[in-house]
């Protein structure tokens, strides 16, 4: 069969032409079929599915980088800026891959002076969404900016972008009420209320920033950035959507008054080192507008926002330098003698007493000799106005005996105690209004104390001791209601919503929160009693207020605190003739109401006079 290849001169005989023709036809069909299939698939991919693949290819290389909407500002009643935004350099990290991260992140941590673990944790939160840049550090200093820029070849994926950062020009002023902003937390992300937000969003975390989040936040814009297959931005930028700025809110707060309130509280705290914080709330008697609200100590939101390390933050909190809780709305204190104004209203309204009715005070209550008055020698015969003036315990024990705790509790609730005042700040505490029902529940089975309301307890609650727990804003609200003849206005921080150009969008009008409908003479009598506190030489706040240019109605309180020193209270309003402001001041473990809280209140009234009559001050 095999004859071997002949040689190179003799060509081998080819197949017959017919055979070659057949081969030609078959091969031609094969070639054409093969390429027809290829062309068909090309048509399928490029024409039929072209749109789909084009958008896939764009998804591949176009990333949306958000342009955060400028957050709305917060202004005081006169337009002074309390919160605004300023541009700040933010360090972002675009995760590329693990091997790069293990060399880049320690380097970055070194430059930023951050813990490596902290950065890794931030990056880890973005797992599965690495097409988004991870914000690592906000508001870096120019030195760090330079260092990162110089080291950029060794920091793949790291870039710096100017982003608006929240700025609080008054620093720690009003801090617990204004709150602060921060990166959205995982638990917020899991909450359907925050479903519009993306990881890394900066949102309000406390106070007004949180309560008015939906108004302050705008609508984020974004621009398209081209990236390569590893997600590295190439520097080419596509079209963008302009962000929609958030709305500005204007507060009832008066910056000057607020400053005076905080300074007064600050010096009270300095003079009483044993004191554990202080709070004051100043309300507009007629509208319920919150003119000042303070909780000391607060914190510096600027320091907090630009990235404070965990250890520094911890140190500030444990040392007591910073406190985030807003004592005005969350701090629960026994009101002590400041509560006597409520008992006075109840006793008069119920007809249990009147100004002609005198009670003899031998220094204790004759029916319960263990219930003593603070003046051991006794005040002798006192009527209701004198009892308020000297803060006679025996008189109010007697009122408690006559009223009973449950009637008193009705008046407490009617004046807004034991419930949220409705101030536009989240996280308000309810407090406790004692009643027989309440005690049966709280001291029921299995408790040591008796669930029945004791005879002496009925008397004790009437002078503000035992079981009562109220927030400073509740006490301010009660005082406002008494000054306003029983009409309690909802404490209101925000009065206006403005657009980014500060043009009015919406006005928030005063609202009546509740009304105690009793004979107006009831309030006149209580007011007269409260006036005596500051204007009669025997008044508990006389020496603080005797030279005050306006007539102030007040009541001091020195609430016994089973856990430490007494809480120092002052509630009051003024001017007497036509009340404009009502306030409550409490110094946590500050001692006596007359010597600590009353002088703070005096400074507040002086500051109020200075702002309300600037011409006269000259």
């Amino acid at each position: 069969m095999n004859r071997g290849y002949r040689n190179r001169d003799n060509s081998s005989g080819n197949l017959p032409a017919r055979e070659l023709k057949r081969i030609r036809d078959y091969v031609l069909v094969l070639v054409i079929t093969c390429f027809a299939i290829l062309t068909a698939q090309l048509f399928n991919l490029q024409i039929i599915q072209g749109e789909k693949y084009r958008s896939l290819s764009e998804d591949n290389y176009m990333r949306i980088t958000p342009i955060p909407a400028p957050r709305g500002e917060i202004l005081d009643r006169n337009g002074n800026v309390l919160v605004t935004s300023r541009p700040a350099f933010t360090v972002f990290y675009w995760y590329l891959d693990e091997s790069e991260a293990t060399t880049t992140l320690p380097r970055l941590a070194d430059i930023l002076g951050m813990e490596l673990g902290e950065i890794e944790e931030k990056v880890k939160r973005y797992e599965g969404r690495y097409f988004e840049p991870v914000p690592i550090a906000r508001d870096i200093t120019p030195e760090i900016y330079t260092k990162i820029a110089e080291d950029s070849p060794n920091l793949p994926g790291v870039f710096i972008d100017p982003q608006p950062i929240r700025y609080y020009p008054q620093n720690d002023l009003l801090s617990t009420t204004l709150g602060y902003v921060g990166e959205i937390t995982q638990s917020q992300l899991d909450d359907p209320q925050w479903k519009d937000y993306k990881m890394g969003s900066i949102v309000g975390q406390q106070g007004l920033e949180l309560y008015y989040e939906s108004i302050l936040r705008g609508k984020n814009g974004g621009y398209q950035v081209e990236v390569d297959y590893r997600g590295r931005p190439t520097g080419n930028v596509g079209p963008g959507i302009e962000p929609e700025p958030g709305k500005t809110i204007q507060l009832e707060i008066d910056l000057d008054l607020q400053t005076a309130v905080e300074n007064a509280l600050k010096s009270a705290l300095e003079e009483n080192p044993a004191a554990n914080g202080a709070s004051a709330v100043v309300l507009d008697v007629n509208t319920g507008g919150v003119l000042a609200i303070a909780s000391m100590p607060g914190f510096d939101p600027n320091v907090l926002i630009s990235g404070i390390s965990y250890t520094d933050l911890n140190q500030k909190i444990t040392s007591g330098e910073w406190r985030f809780a807003n004592l005005a709305t969350t701090g629960l204190y026994p009101p002590g003698s400041a509560f006597k104004i409520v008992t006075a209203v109840a006793a008069l309204a119920e007809g249990k007493t009147d100004p002609t009715d005198e009670v003899f005070d031998p220094g204790y209550h004759p029916s319960a000799p263990t219930l003593v008055c603070h003046k051991r020698a006794g005040h002798g015969y006192v009527n209701i106005e004198e009892a308020l003036e000297v803060s006679c315990n025996t008189y109010f024990y007697e009122m408690g005996r006559r009223l009973g705790v449950d009637t008193l509790a009705e008046y407490c609730r009617a004046l807004g105690l034991g419930m949220k005042t409705g101030v536009d700040l989240g996280g308000e505490n309810y407090g406790t209004v004692p009643s027989t029902e309440w005690k049966a529940k709280a001291y029921g089975e299995g408790r040591v104390a008796q669930p029945e309301f004791l005879f002496s307890e009925h008397m004790m609650v009437a002078m503000g001791q035992t079981f009562h727990l109220y927030t400073p804003i509740q006490m301010a609200s009660v005082t406002q209601a008494i000054a306003n003849y029983g009409v309690r206005m909802r404490p209101r921080l925000v009065s206006k919503i403005l657009d980014s150009e500060h043009d009015l969008v919406e006005e928030i009008l005063p609202e009546v929160a509740g009304e105690l409908q009793v004979d107006p003479s009831v309030f006149d009598i209580v007011k007269d009693g409260m006036l005596r506190v500051t204007n009669e030489p025997g008044g508990t706040a006389y020496w603080t207020f005797h030279d005050c240019p306006i007539k102030v109605c007040g009541k001091t309180g020195t609430a016994q605190n089973p856990l430490g020193d007494d809480h120092s209270w002052f509630v009051g309003f003024g001017p007497y003739e036509d009340p404009e402001i009502a306030l409550a001041v409490v110094v946590d473990q500050g001692g006596s109401g007359s010597s600590v809280a009353a002088p703070v209140a005096r400074q507040i009234f002086d500051a109020f006079l200075a702002i309300s009559q600037p011409q006269e001050a000259e």
């Binding site: 069969m1 005989g13 080819n14 055979e19 030609r24 390429f35 090309l42």
Partner: protein
């Protein structure tokens, strides 16, 4: 760039050389060429340069020689010599298998590099030449079927019995994911999926030369070698890519004309061998980039980057030109 120009110049010289020498001299010398080529393949085993997990190249300093690419030409020449020494076409299974046997050792050496693609090209060349030598299509078909069964048995032995055979796991993976890249888009299916996105996003008119985002931003792996067609599709679009496909058809038809019009059997077999090589490579490569062929690592003739391949393809075209110019009969 300089290297590219140099390569084009060398390729053109090789094409000219192939077109003007007597191809029958090469056929006559082919046993010697085969011997040298096998020696080179053995040399690769000991001193080969490794890239991308396979050892295919012998470094010559200025140039990396790829003996497996050369073997495509060697197979065409030696196959021609063997087939021309026969009285009549092979038409029964036994002799056909015997005919394949000479390519078994080099094919095994290439498979071991590992280079499944080139091995398959060799099989395709030899089979095509068998058809051009007059072996009935039916016999070839039967044999192909038998071949597939044998491959199936070998795979079974490897996967389920554990017989150690030179099979790379990723060949099997590729065979599976090549057709269904969406199944594992970031893993084994990544290349093909990105390639399909590239081609598909080219739409009617393409993104323009050098403007293919898939290409420029390195989304397509091996975009200058095996996946060059993705770039063509993305940047040129359907209309112009069809023209590119048409050019391949044109080259293949010219090879076919040269084969059937050849004055001698050597010419028919050489042109037929070249045709088989080009058809198989372009079909599998282009099909692979569009997800209708498995990923086997076969370069696209004339477009893929690769020095030896360029020279080999140019030489092959030279041979076809040579055959074409020597034609006597006219069938078209």
């Amino acid at each position: 760039m300089k290297r590219q120009l140099l390569l084009i110049a060398v390729s053109l010289v090789m094409m000219g050389l192939a077109a003007f020498i007597d191809y029958r001299d090469l056929v006559w010398l082919s046993p010697l060429i085969l011997g040298l080529n096998v020696l080179l393949l053995v040399a690769v085993l000991f001193m080969g340069r490794t890239a991308g997990g396979s050892t295919r190249w012998i470094s010559l300093g200025f140039f990396d020689l790829q003996p497996s690419e050369l073997f495509k030409l060697t197979a065409i020449l030696f196959g021609t010599r063997v087939l021309c020494s026969l009285d009549r076409p092979l038409d029964s299974i036994g002799p056909i298998i015997a005919f394949y046997s000479w390519s078994a050792i080099p094919a095994f050496l290439i498979l071991k590099q590992p280079d499944l693609g080139t091995t398959l090209v060799i099989v395709a060349i030899v089979t095509g030449m068998l058809y051009f030598s007059g072996t009935p299509g039916k016999a070839i078909f039967t044999m192909a079927l038998a071949g597939m069964i044998i491959v199936g048995i070998l795979l079974w032995l490897y996967l389920y019995v554990g017989v150690p055979l030179p099979i790379e796991e990723h060949w099997i993976d590729r065979l599976v994911t090549g057709f269904n890249p969406e199944k594992d888009p970031l893993g084994k299916g990544y290349q093909v999926l990105q390639s399909k996105i590239a081609i598909g996003s080219g739409s009617v008119w393409g993104k323009g030369l050098g403007k293919g985002t898939q290409n420029r931003l390195d989304f397509i792996p091996h975009q200058e070698t095996d996946f060059i067609f993705s770039v063509v599709g993305e940047e040129l679009g359907f209309v112009r890519t069809t023209v590119v496909l048409g050019m391949y058809v044109l080259i293949l038809v010219r090879c076919l004309i040269a084969a059937v019009n050849s004055a001698d059997k050597e010419g028919t077999l050489i042109a037929g061998g070249v045709l088989s090589m080009l058809l198989f490579q372009s079909l599998v490569n282009i099909g692979m980039t569009m997800g209708i062929m498995p990923v086997t690592g076969i370069p696209l003739p004339f477009l893929s980057y690769g020095g030896t391949a360029s020279v080999v393809n140019a030489f092959a075209i030279g041979l076809v030109l040579n055959v074409s110019w020597k034609r006597h009969k006219i069938l078209f």
